[in-house]
Amino acid sequence: MNTARHLSLALGAVAAVLIAAACHDAASPQDTITAGILPGHNKGGSQCADFRLTGGGRVDKPEPETGKSPPSSHDFATFGFQARPDAACPFDMAGSGNIEWNEHLETQYGGGFAFHGRVTLFSTPNDGTETNPQCGRFGGFGRLNPHNGPTEEDVSFEVNHACDVDEPGVGQDHIYMRIGPLADGSIYFRHSLLSGGNIQWHRLTGNN
């Protein structure tokens, strides 16, 4: 897939996700996507954020519940990611990085799956969490390997927000992952406080 098509799909996916998010959460502000840009480095007229995010761990119950599911339950996901603005900032909100997301719940899409995503967009959130200055939002495309089914390529995803609330991250930091539309037209999402691991927000200083 060429870069131009990828970008077009990515922006389209973000727009679709914004609409879908509004359906799920009527309280979410309906800002335009450009409202999510944090004034950061500006190259050639494009604006990109001035922070980055890393994180990894585990999520179980939907927010605001905390803690792990019981030992007999597959209802959890694990993840790891790094996401940041593209150093060259070729277009507004250009991002880079990767995310791994492993869903274990058998009743989820594909009987559970492993998702490997590549970050192409990175900005501040616009779903209400932007009031916390240490939240970020990113998205892109990736490969989804369902436990029961064929591999799907170029599946769009968006982390509506990943928030570094405090240290340690368990019970405080939170993440909202959306993947799709999937082959059956559905959209996967999981929105949880961390039951393991941590998310860290870092201001870009030029050295990192």
């Binding site: 990894g56 761990g57 694990t78 790891g80 791994e100 240290e167 340690p168 393991g196």
Partner: protein, 204 residues
């Protein structure tokens, strides 16, 4: 005055450069009967970033069988805060000829520091449908739980090893199943099997 400024800048530069993160995760390690075998390892660069190590399946006859092995480690270094998070997961796990089985094994090791303090933990680590010596374990397994495996040796479940000095460095290693193989007659250690390992550390 100039000398003091240079000294301060040197100390500051040294402090920044000294900050490091480490992260490592893997699904399985087997050292038995003179044979060593390990599934893909995710190793975090000292400057931070992300690394993965994955395999669809892994098996060593009589020692371990597992599928969907996923190891991920991420981290970042900053002059205000740094962190490393490592996760290892396996599914359909069978160890030591079926002495230990589990639907899912998850190891999570986290280390971090902020401006004033730091810490490390193994929160998020766990088993799904763990069975040991034919007995289902239906509650959370406490860190460093020892179980005997007749004819095999013993195992430490949810092994958690803290590292670092707690002042300028913090770290955690989690081995969800650590089997120590022993000679049935002499009791001498003959090998080991590690399932679901995640390590993270930070230093400033």
């Amino acid at each position: 005055m100039t000398t003091k400024i240079l000294l301060a800048l040197t100390l500051l530069a040294g402090a920044v450069q000294a900050q490091t993160v480490t992260g490592k995760a893997f699904g399985t390690y087997v050292n038995a009967a003179g044979v060593t075998s390990q599934s893909p390892v995710a190793t975090l660069p000292s400057s931070g970033g992300m690394a993965t190590g994955q395999a669809d399946a892994f098996g060593v006859a009589g020692a371990v069988d597992a599928s969907r092995l996923n190891a991920v480690t991420t981290g970042a270094v900053d002059n205000k805060k740094s962190g490393a998070e490592s996760t290892s997961e396996l599914e359909q796990v069978s160890v030591a000829g079926g002495a230990i089985t589990a639907d899912v094994v998850t190891a999570v090791a986290t280390a971090y520091f902020g401006q004033f303090t730091g810490g490390s933990d193994g929160e998020g680590s766990g088993f799904v449908n763990l069975v040991v010596n034919g007995e289902a374990i239906t509650t959370e397994v406490a860190p460093n739980t020892r179980v005997d495996l007749p004819g095999v040796g013993y195992a430490i479940l949810n092994e958690q090893i803290q590292t670092g000095n707690g002042v300028t460095s913090w770290g955690m290693t989690v081995n969800m199943i650590h089997v120590v193989l022993q000679d049935a007659l002499t009791g001498l250690t003959t090998g080991e099997i590690i399932i679901g390992s995640a390590s993270s550390s930070v230093a400033r």
